[in-house]
């Protein structure tokens, strides 16, 4: 599905993985992350999104298939994994799985220290990451005294402080309120603008449609469709197979067309674009 290219930061080919007990998790996944990517890994619960992400940073080793990092075959020895994690950061779905240190500041300092940076640089990176995530005022708080949204941001700060080339986020918006989601997406935009390639997993079709530049649709351990969101998320057959539905904005556009209101192209990507799209469509009777 993905054309292998030398420019890809991570390139997975034909990944297979089976959970203990023989339950298949991945059955032949091809996936590539290129510089500047904004990819949404979209699928229902149990489709294999988390397992793909865990492979992309070397936390899991495929039972079959290959992974390349910057064109080179990925290794799983200590030194290779160290290099891998320096380049590819993964934010786990449950922030409590990631936060361990006494305070938020100490926790965020953990990754940069592991990179072997001198202490002044570590302090600078921690300060930057805390400010980027808007949690500078929580620096001295212990993890168990944070709200869920604050924990989530602290966990992301811990990875952002390592300045990876690729940032993988497992269900980063799950459990966040709309304001929290908005803040998170703004932070991701800033990271993308600074050149970080982003891959997030979600089952939220509206989020994927509004945010991603590429959508990879997963079902039962395979990527069944990959491409621009307006193409993948208008593919009803693939969506049905993945157990998902059309994004609301695409649904509206389809309805408007079916009712003969408009034939305008392309579909609006964000709610804010909808009015402009409808105006340009010269709605009958408007």
């Amino acid at each position: 599905m993905t054309v292998p290219g030398p420019e890809a930061l991570i390139e997975a080919h034909d990944l297979h993985y089976t959970f203990a007990g023989g339950i298949p998790a991945l059955s032949g996944v091809d996936f590539a992350v290129r510089p500047g990517a904004r990819v949404a890994l979209l699928g229902a619960n149990g489709a294999g999104k988390t397992t793909v992400l865990l492979h992309l940073n070397g936390s899991l080793k495929p039972s079959r298939g290959t992974l390349r990092l910057g064109g080179e075959m990925a290794g799983y020895d200590r030194a290779a994994l160290m290099r891998w994690r320096t380049r590819v950061g993964l934010v786990l779905q449950d922030p409590d799985d990631q936060l361990f240190a006494g305070t938020v500041y100490e926790d965020v300092s953990f990754g940069p220290l592991n990179l072997g940076l001198p202490e002044p640089d570590v302090h600078a990176r921690v300060t930057f990451a805390l400010e980027a995530l808007g949690i500078a005022d929580l620096a001295a708080r212990p993890a168990h005294m944070l709200s869920f949204g604050q924990k989530r941001r602290a966990a992301i700060a811990g990875i952002v402080a390592m300045r990876p080339q690729v940032l993988l986020l497992d269900e980063p918006t799950a459990g966040l309120d709309p304001h929290g989601v908005g803040q998170l997406l703004a932070t991701l935009d800033a990271l993308a603008a600074a050149g970080t390639a982003l891959v997030l997993s979600t089952h939220d079709v509206d989020l994927a449609y509004g945010w991603a530049e590429t959508v990879a649709l997963m079902d039962r351990g395979r990527i069944i469709a990959e491409g621009p969101p307006e193409a993948v998320l208008a593919d009803d057959a693939a969506l049905a197979r993945a157990g998902l539905r059309r994004p609301l904005l695409i649904e509206l556009a389809f309805q408007a067309r079916a009712a003969g209101l408009t034939s305008a192209q392309p579909f609006p990507r964000r709610a804010a674009d909808l009015a402009a799209w409808l105006r340009s469509a010269q709605i009958v009777g408007a």
Partner: protein, 259 residues
């Protein structure tokens, strides 16, 4: 009960007005008071130390009286029981045993109780104003071996996670009437305890992944922003210690002993 008290102490320690002060300042203040309560005569040093320690917590660190009393309640009950045992003696006489209290035994009980109370209050001053995280960081500065501190950090994190899981689990059970009578309550707590361990082990496994994604090398090194040591606070503490000692010496010299 114990979990609730520990949780309360942790919350107080993390949020009081002095929590961001350098831990050495509070260790010095509380440690000095503790030492005074142990070496000086219980009267009048006991009440003086008690007053100083309680004011430091209530006025200085702005801990609420309610929280303070809630934490003090357990050692207070223990001390009260001890005082009764010290003051009253059982004297088996011809016939039935009977209870007796003499002026001597009451004076001893009062002195011991005051001393213990002053010592507990001094210790609580440290416990309630120094967050455990700051204490561990101070231990690191004092060159306590890193593996010991790392284990303590992990234990602290997991105890707090376990408290949270237990509290949520208990709430969920109570919502389904799991605590409506004593028999069900015992059964529900047993079930909760049994599910807690595998859940924590599972959490531990996932945390291992979480640590390794951040290039963990087996060491859990972290950094914290530097906190300045306040000379004013330290000299204030020393002045307080000195005045308690001076008043005690003056009292012992000027007030004739009742004996």
């Amino acid at each position: 009960m114990a979990a609730a008290a520990m949780d309360l102490i942790d919350r107080i320690a993390q949020t009081n007005r002095w929590s961001r002060r350098h831990p050495a300042e509070k260790l010095m203040l509380g440690g000095g008071l503790l030492l005074l309560s142990l070496i000086l005569p219980a009267i009048p040093a006991g009440p003086l130390v008690l007053l100083a320690a309680a004011s430091a917590v209530l006025v200085g660190a702005r801990v609420s009286v309610r929280d303070y009393l809630a934490i003090l309640a357990a050692p207070l009950a223990f001390l009260a029981l001890g005082a009764v045992v010290l003051a009253v003696s059982v004297q088996p006489d011809a016939g039935a045993p009977w209870l007796a209290a003499s002026t001597d035994s009451i004076a001893t009980a009062a002195a011991v109780t005051l001393r213990a109370l002053a010592a507990v209050a001094s210790l609580l001053l440290i416990v309630m104003t120094v967050p455990l995280t700051a204490l561990l960081r101070q231990a690191h500065r004092l060159r306590v071996p890193a593996p010991i501190i790392e284990i303590a950090v992990m234990m602290y994190r997991f105890i707090m996670l376990a408290f949270g899981m237990a509290a949520r689990g208990q709430q969920a059970q109570a919502n389904r009437l799991g605590y409506r009578d004593i028999r069900r309550a015992i059964r529900s707590s047993g079930l909760l305890a049994a599910t807690l361990l595998p859940r924590l082990l599972d959490r531990g496994r996932r945390m291992e992944i979480g640590l390794s994604t951040r290039a963990c090398t087996g060491e859990l090194r972290t950094l914290a922003p530097a906190v300045a040591l306040s000379p004013a606070f330290l000299s204030g503490a020393v002045a307080l210690h000195a005045s308690i000692a001076a008043v005690t010496v003056a009292w012992v010299t000027l007030v004739p002993s009742p004996a």
